[in-house]
Amino acid sequence: MATLMTHPIIRRTSPPQVVAVAPSRGSVRCGVVLASCLLMTSVALAEDISVRASADVRVTGGSGENSWTQGGFGKTRFGDGDAGTPFANAALSVHWQVTPAWSLSTDVRYQPHLGSALSLTEAFARYRPVSTGAWRWSVKLGEFFPPISLENDGIGWTSLWTLTPSAINTWIGEELRTFGAEARIEHRGEADTLSAGAALFGTKDPAGEILASRGWSLSDLVAGIGSRLREPDAYATSIGVAPPRRYDPFLEIDHRVGIYADAEWTSAQYGRLRALYYDNRADPSTYHPFGAGDDLFSWRTRFVSVGAQTQIDRLELIAQAMDGTTKVAPPGFASETHFSATYVLAGWNLGAWRPALRLDAFTTRQTPDFPPRMSEHGNALTFALNWRPREWLRLTGEALRIDSTRDARLSVGLAPRQVDTQIQLNARFLY
């Protein structure tokens, strides 16, 4: 513990008394979410509106460590002590085609465990002039997901194959959101479509922090406006902050503009390939006064992401990989965390039954390497069995096993290697 207490990351000053969340800011964001709900409700009365919604009723069982959502190092959403706890999730997606060229889209999620239970996970306008030729261009403005995930295509950015997305898409859901503008050009051929896009964005400076402080995890929590991510309590203590330490992952600190560029090839015959380069261009020496004696620093995060998806008869295969770094540089110190993850998912389309199997692998490596090391490595195996007895009902049983090694666990008296398991039974009602 003594070594962790002197861990220099994030710590600018060291008084232990800290208020983790700035309440005034949270109230404002809750207001934004509620206003969006009201707007969506009123808009839903108009024509050209598409409303989709889902509601989950779930029973879970977990064993192993305390989940990170409870301040532990556990890599699942539910850990030791959460077994059998029934809870509910909900998501609402509204798409309003204002004119043939203009549309507005919003996503709201209700989910316990991320600070505010209600969060706005997407809200954007898209301008896409009607094209009757092969070329088509569009612009998006607002808050939206970068085009990375190949598995999260369901209402509220959920997976149609599993309840818990891969490690890569869990992190995207937690810390990556575009608050800005994206331009896109597509060429639609007879046999395939090529698409290329580029974006400029802000409100992204803490992105990467959770990978350094907690490491990878696998959960279906998706942060939005109003959400707060919790760091492991031991980590908060190590930087002189009284836990729980929760932060807003979508903050603008340094007023620098981030960029990403992506390309995608889609073929009706072969599937699709996707690649993206991301750089939030954050100045890692800048910080946001977060509470008494606590500052939230910017993290310079860069990565490359690639993915492929194909279908062979009834078998659908999805694979994604990501490799990058995140860097923080408080005065007199700098630390870089290299992160990488990959997964392969095999899903079978058997009509009403859709079983899926996914294998994840992930690592983080911190430089310089302070003891106890913040680095980690691990793998995860997910099996889900989905049954759609009705169009409006999806029943899913999912087993998840994560085997990971992280030396930081020594600070709470745990062995570095832990195996977390989680069983979930879920009924998803679809509208």
């Binding site: 997606s93 043939p100 009607v130 295509d153 009706a268 015959q269 679809l430």
Partner: protein
């Protein structure tokens, strides 16, 4: 007057021969796994044009209505003869497009809720993929053909044609045939009073409609 009566008698005899002389040809279309394939278009052209085939090729044009309902074009595949017309009907509460940039026909309609497009004549043979610029998943295919005989396979994968005795070229087309997998014609001979079965196995691309369930939004 006498000439008209003669014409009428000729038509009646022709129709009678169509009914009496036709031999059923049952076509069964399956995919690579042997599962039945719906919406395949079976066309039959005689090796030598006959009076019957020419009469069928010169049928009066008609108008087809393509519905847009629940963000889906209905039907998924429609067969036209050159000269037939199409009207798009938006039965949804939301606005739709109907557009194509296929080489056989380019067009674009914007349809508000409850609106019909003006009739549009399709005058050339070919396949026309029709989409909606607002809802990318919406798609329908027009197959324009002057083949005298044609049929569409049902859910069972079966299509029936009634043909006079003769030699024919028969081909099967489906929108999920890969661009490289052309519908090569097959030659058959049909004898009077000798019903025939014919099986076609198609190597098809994945059906994008399989992913169009209400849970999928698309991100």
């Amino acid at each position: 007057m006498g000439r008209r009566i003669l014409q009428l008698v000729a038509y009646v005899l022709l129709a009678g021969c169509d009914l009496a002389c036709a031999t059923p040809l049952d076509v069964r279309v399956t995919d690579a796994r042997g599962a039945p394939v719906a919406d395949a278009v079976v066309t039959v052209v005689p090796q030598v044009a006959s009076r019957e085939s020419e009469a069928l090729s010169q049928r009066a044009p008609r108008t087809h209505v393509i519905d847009q309902r629940n963000e889906t074009f209905i039907p998924y595949v429609e067969v036209f003869r050159p000269g037939d017309s199409v009207i798009f009907r938006n039965s949804d509460r939301t606005r739709h497009h109907a557009y194509s940039f296929s080489s056989a026909r380019q067009f674009d309609f914007v349809l508000g809720s409850g609106e019909d497009s003006p009739p549009m004549v399709l005058d050339k043979n070919g396949t026309i993929a029709v989409g909606c610029n607002i809802h990318d998943k919406m798609i329908t295919f027009f197959y324009v053909t002057d083949a005298p005989w044609y049929a569409q396979s049902e859910k069972s994968g079966k299509a029936r044609l009634d043909l006079p005795a003769g030699s024919y070229a028969i081909r099967v087309w489906h929108p999920l045939l890969p661009p490289s997998g052309h519908d090569e014609p097959r030659s058959i001979a049909v004898a009077a009073d000798a019903p025939r079965d014919l099986a076609f196995s198609l190597q098809l691309m994945p059906d994008p409609r399989a992913s169009m369930d209400r849970e999928r939004v698309g991100y």
